[in-house]
Amino acid sequence: MTAVPAPVSSTAAGALSAFLRGVERRALVVAELQCGDPARAEQTLVAVMRAFAAVASDLPMAQWPSRFWTLLGQRQALREPATGQWPPSLAGLGEMAPLPRLALLLRVGGSLDEGIATRVLDVDEEGYQRLLATACPRDADGQPDAAAWRALAEQVQLRVRDLPAKRLQQLQQPSAPAANNQAPASSWRAPPRDERASTSSKRRRPNAKPRWRGPVILLITVAVLLLAALGWRHWQGRALTADGPLPEGVVAEAGPVTVEALPASDVRPAAGSDAQASEDAAMLADRDYPLLAEADMHAWSAAGGPLPVDESQPKPTRPEPVGAALETSAADE
């Protein structure tokens, strides 16, 4: 067996850059709303992106999301945020304990599935659901408030969508001179993982809720909502049959709204698709349209049909780093 270091081909580098691009918007919002401090969040995310870029080539791409979010989620800035500030629409976040807040943000801001979120938070499935239940806003009676949860999720999503491109560009600026960077780097770098895990679990223990509470709260929410929905439907059905025959053209009535069928001729494409249709017509009328589908191949053959060099094979002409060569020969022995 030969241990060949994973080659960083331009495709792999492109994939890494595409991955970071796909994740940075969500990651910045999660970090920012977790810390309550945009500057600290940016600083943290830049460090995480750098750390991730250094290890990504050694990982299968399938593990990238989980590793990236774990690197981010384990940062001290996110695990033990200092007092931060939240916009008024998201003030509820500031009142939560850090860990439930992170669980909520990873879900509604990071759009992470349960498998990745549990790894990032270092909890089992039950623990994760408990954190989410803790993060769920309560109504006046202390019951989980589904509408408030949804509103919170929408606010977070809105931030992800509306994040100015300038903020993202700032992430990609080369960081300040290394000398400046050195000191803060050690201060906001998270302590080793196991140490932190044990302290945080110790801290969670005293005010941890009984294990059955999360699922029970959820079950009650489901039952209440189901009952409400059934009741509403029943009431709607009665209201509908109680009324006389519907006027002509009316399909149904739902409270103050009268639902009418549109005449077929009224269904027209929107103005946007009209413009689209005329652009399409111009394209189809172009004499070069027939060669469009394979224009890439024709351009390639016009250039003589060169094939890319296979970068996955080590080439004797390219000097290998000395360390890598030694490692390879050592592994061969």
Partner: protein, 186 residues
């Protein structure tokens, strides 16, 4: 009604609240039948929405090519059409077997397409607002400048790509040689 209620109920459940989908694929209506090239229009209408979008973006790329590049492609297409079917098929297979990023590079024309695999790191993912500027500058470069830029692209670590690209775009044409030499030497 029933479905609406149920969907509302699902949405209301905290744990079923997954994030909104990243993008929605709304099928586009087929273009009106009264277009000047009936056979092309009919064939286009047969394509699924994703293929139609692809064709539109192919056309946008085609229109962005300088006329000289378009002419080279037309000639190549004519030569290709003259080949026997089995040779056409062989070329198609050979091209299709290549990596997608490699194939997409050729949409930039024969000249840039040849350099694209090497430039991909720096110019493979460009913000929409930089796209036109990038293409304009790349088309102005001489072959030796392109070769140096390829070196720069290969030596730039991923996290610095955006800043290096922006810096390159900001360099006046007369100073590009100096900039490229300095940057490639780093």
């Amino acid at each position: 009604m029933n479905k609406l209620v149920f969907a509302g109920l699902l949405l209301a459940l905290p744990l079923s609240l997954a994030a909104a989908p990243q993008s929605l694929n709304v099928p586009l209506p087929a273009p009106s039948a009264a277009s000047p090239a009936p056979s092309a229009a009919a064939a286009f209408a047969q394509l699924d929405p994703a293929q139609q979008r692809q064709r539109r973006s192919d056309y946008a790329a085609w229109r962005a090519l300088p006329e000289g590049e378009r002419e080279r492609i037309r000639q190549a297409a004519a030569r290709f059409a003259a080949l026997p079917a089995d040779q056409q098929q062989r070329l198609r297979v050979q091209f299709q077997a290549q990596d997608q990023a490699f194939r997409e590079g050729w949409r930039l024309g024969p000249q840039l397409g040849a350099e694209f695999p090497k430039l991909h790191g720096l110019f493979g993912f460009v913000p929409p607002q930089q796209r036109d500027a990038v293409l304009t500058v790349l088309r102005q470069l001489s072959p030796s400048q392109l070769a140096q830029l390829a070196l720069v692209a290969q030596r730039t670590p991923p996290q610095e790509r955006d800043s290096v690209r922006s810096a390159f775009l900001a360099v006046p044409a007369a100073e590009r040689d100096t900039w490229l030499k300095r940057q490639a030497g780093q």
